[in-house]
Symmetry: C2
Subunit: 220 residues, 2 copies
């Protein structure tokens, strides 16, 4: 068995705040520097001598885990759907980060629009792969403009009329005069593992899956 | 001539702090909400009745300007090189955001490595297009793993041995045991415009280019 430390990849930002109570409940306390969002440090020791944490962009969690650079990670189902990495196994729904991936368009347009008649649409999204797949399944060609954020600006600025984005309360859509017209997927945050690591280090990786599962079951 | 407002796209984050004194020196004062980094608002009025600002991710500035959703923008030369949009004209170097795009690898490896002998390398980078182009020009095939941040983690975690990233002081590289071995490009921040907007609204767009140029010339 490898004596390398296990690495768990955590997503920066909004989800991290929801995820940390779960991580801590498994017995993993990160070193103090982890709390400093401005720290140059990218990798952190924990109270467990065999486990380090890395804090990376939510999309990068999937890449680090898929390539085996991290053995475990916490990633949104949206990210997993977008990359669709065969090397990632997602054994556990953490029940946090609850939202949905949806199609939206300007309120005024939604009153007369007929999505069933679309043959080609232009969409601004952070999720071009999911979007193309979703629409291709019903014969609609989706031309995607990849944006990393602020998709809600696109319709008012004439970039395109539709967007595909994560929607939680819907307040951001409403504030930008947009209306949700179609739900693509319900999204939650998952515990993910690298499949090869699960085979080569089954006791270690399996033990952490079990700990997270106990925390989740206990919280229900 | 269109009576639509002009939209100027500004990049979130580090560059924004350097860019705002220049923007303000042209006579554009954003509405107060612009100062609030947590605001849901994405588009902001200014002291100039015909100009709005949007604050988007640095990579998205290029996309908004290329598609004409913003007529002007402030973008790093790194972003312009990566997308290589024909629709973008970059008339002015703003002299801020000075850094370089460089190849780095672990310090221990750099002592014996011979880049002139590479035929295939694996690289973690936010800039796959630039990286492939740079290496292809000397016959090296670069297999790129796209990351959105924290590239410096990749070598120590076994993802790959080389990274291509922006380097400023070099402190982040050093803190991760990495050494810069090759410079790909010198980077600064540019004023960019949509070519079609410059043709259809030449007085307005041209006047803002001139104002930024005067600010820059004055500062020298």
């Amino acid at each position: 068995m490898s004596r390398d430390k296990l690495v768990i990849a955590l997503p920066k930002g909004r989800i991290l705040q929801e995820a940390m109570p779960l991580v801590c409940a498994t017995g993993l306390e990160p070193e103090p520097a982890f709390q400093d969002p401005q720290a140059r440090q990218l990798r952190f020791a924990t109270s467990h001598p065999d486990v380090d944490l890395i804090r990376v962009r939510s999309f990068d969690v999937a890449t680090f885990v898929a390539f085996g650079a991290a053995q475990l990670g916490i990633a949104g189902h949206d990210v997993l759907l977008e990359f669709d990495y065969a090397e990632i196994y997602a054994p556990l729904d953490l029940g946090i980060g609850i939202c949905r991936l949806a199609v939206a368009e300007p309120e005024y347009l939604s009153q007369t629009d007929e999505p069933s008649r679309w043959s080609h649409i232009r969409v601004a999204t952070k999720y071009p792969a999911i979007t193309r797949r979703h629409f291709a399944a019903r014969g609609v060609q989706a031309e995607c403009i990849k944006l990393n954020g602020a998709m809600e600006l696109a319709p008012a600025l004439g970039l395109c009329q539709r967007i595909v984005d994560l929607v939680s309360s819907g307040q951001t859509l409403a504030a930008n005069g947009l209306k949700e017209i179609e739900r693509i997927a319900d999204i939650t945050t998952r515990l993910v593992v690298n499949r090869a690591a699960l085979k080569t280090r089954p006791e270690e990786v399996g033990a952490w899956i079990d700990r997270f599962r106990m925390v989740i079951d206990h919280g229900r």
